[in-house]
């Protein structure tokens, strides 16, 4: 691909090739935003902070590189669990995978591994057009933050907050006490 590859050229390539292309030709972009969220599977856990990758931000803002979010949200996964010598296979999708894993762990099942089923659409989904910085953060939340955190029907209060990076404490002395303010 040339440095000014067109949408059609990018769309015709494997996601991996688009990532390689982006690393080669795009300047990284350090966003001013971070996302602070609660651990949806353990209310007592410390606040998590998502820092977007500067190369990924550049890809999202360039457009035509990252796939539509549905490619991640609907990614089919087969998970294998074991309990007392009994194995169980569960087919799940996107963010459900983390929820299933948590529930199975509570039931005493040990996670053995997972695989992405060949019906995934990472390489065939339409690519996203250029996003603004804010749109890219919203996309990344849907991709990398558990759905239980941001789906409106899962909680009666906000469980995440988009903040400026300089609002995240730089002193980690009390890191294990960080909580999302009510």
């Amino acid at each position: 691909m040339t440095d000014n590859a067109t949408r059609a050229q990018l769309q015709a390539n494997h996601l991996w090739d688009r990532v390689v292309y982006a690393k080669k030709v795009l300047e990284s972009y350090q966003t001013q935003y971070s996302v602070v969220y609660e651990d949806p599977f353990n209310d007592d856990n410390v606040a998590h902070v998502l820092h977007p990758d500067p190369h990924w931000m550049a890809m999202a803002m360039r457009g035509d590189i990252v796939p539509e979010i549905s490619a991640y949200m609907n990614m089919p996964l087969e998970q294998i669990y074991e309990r007392q010598g009994v194995y169980q296979s569960i087919t799940t999708q996107g963010h459900q995978a983390a929820e299933v894993k948590h529930r199975m762990k509570l039931d005493g099942w040990v996670f053995q591994g997972e695989k992405v089923l060949p019906t995934h659409e990472l390489h065939t989904a339409q690519t996203m057009p250029a996003m603004t910085e804010e749109q890219a953060i919203e996309y990344l939340i849907m991709k990398d933050v558990p759905g239980q955190v941001w789906k409106a029907d899962r909680s009666n209060r906000p469980r995440f907050m988009i903040c400026r990076r300089d609002q995240v404490p730089s002193d980690r002395k009390h890191r294990q006490a960080w909580r999302l303010a009510a």
Binding site: H48, D53, L77, G113, E114, V116
Partner: protein, 124 residues
């Protein structure tokens, strides 16, 4: 003796996966102190700071399964300081990996100035 100087290596047939077998599919170098940050990376969409010495990374292009190889290292970047460091992979799924940075001598989670990992496996 001849010297090969090329920009791309590929098969005459086959797909990306054939060409890339054995290469690192994701890597990152991060700062685990202060407000954590990625210095540089490849095929990583973000770093999630999950507490002292606990960091997870999500892949842009997922791997085909969770049975990939991951290697990691870390340190404080200063000679003759902490040497009993350990960066351990504590969880890996097809879409990402979680690392913990600890002091080997007392098994305590510690934030390091420099953390690195790379992942080898098959792409989804």
């Amino acid at each position: 003796m001849s010297t090969l100087r090329v920009d791309n290596i590929g098969r005459r047939s086959g797909d990306t996966q054939d060409t890339l077998e054995g290469q690192a599919k994701a890597w990152a170098n991060w700062n685990g102190t202060g407000a954590a940050a990625l210095r540089d990376s490849f095929n990583v969409s973000g770093l999630t700071d999950q507490g002292t010495g606990s960091f997870s990374f999500a892949f842009t292009n997922a791997l085909t399964n969770s049975n990939f190889n991951s290697v990691a290292s870390g340190g404080q970047g200063v000679p003759n300081t902490i040497r009993d460091i350990c960066v351990s992979r504590v969880d890996q799924i097809a879409t990402g990996v979680r690392m913990e940075t600890v002091r080997g001598s007392n098994n305590s989670s510690t934030d390091f100035l420099i953390g690195n990992f790379s992942v080898m496996g098959d792409l989804a």
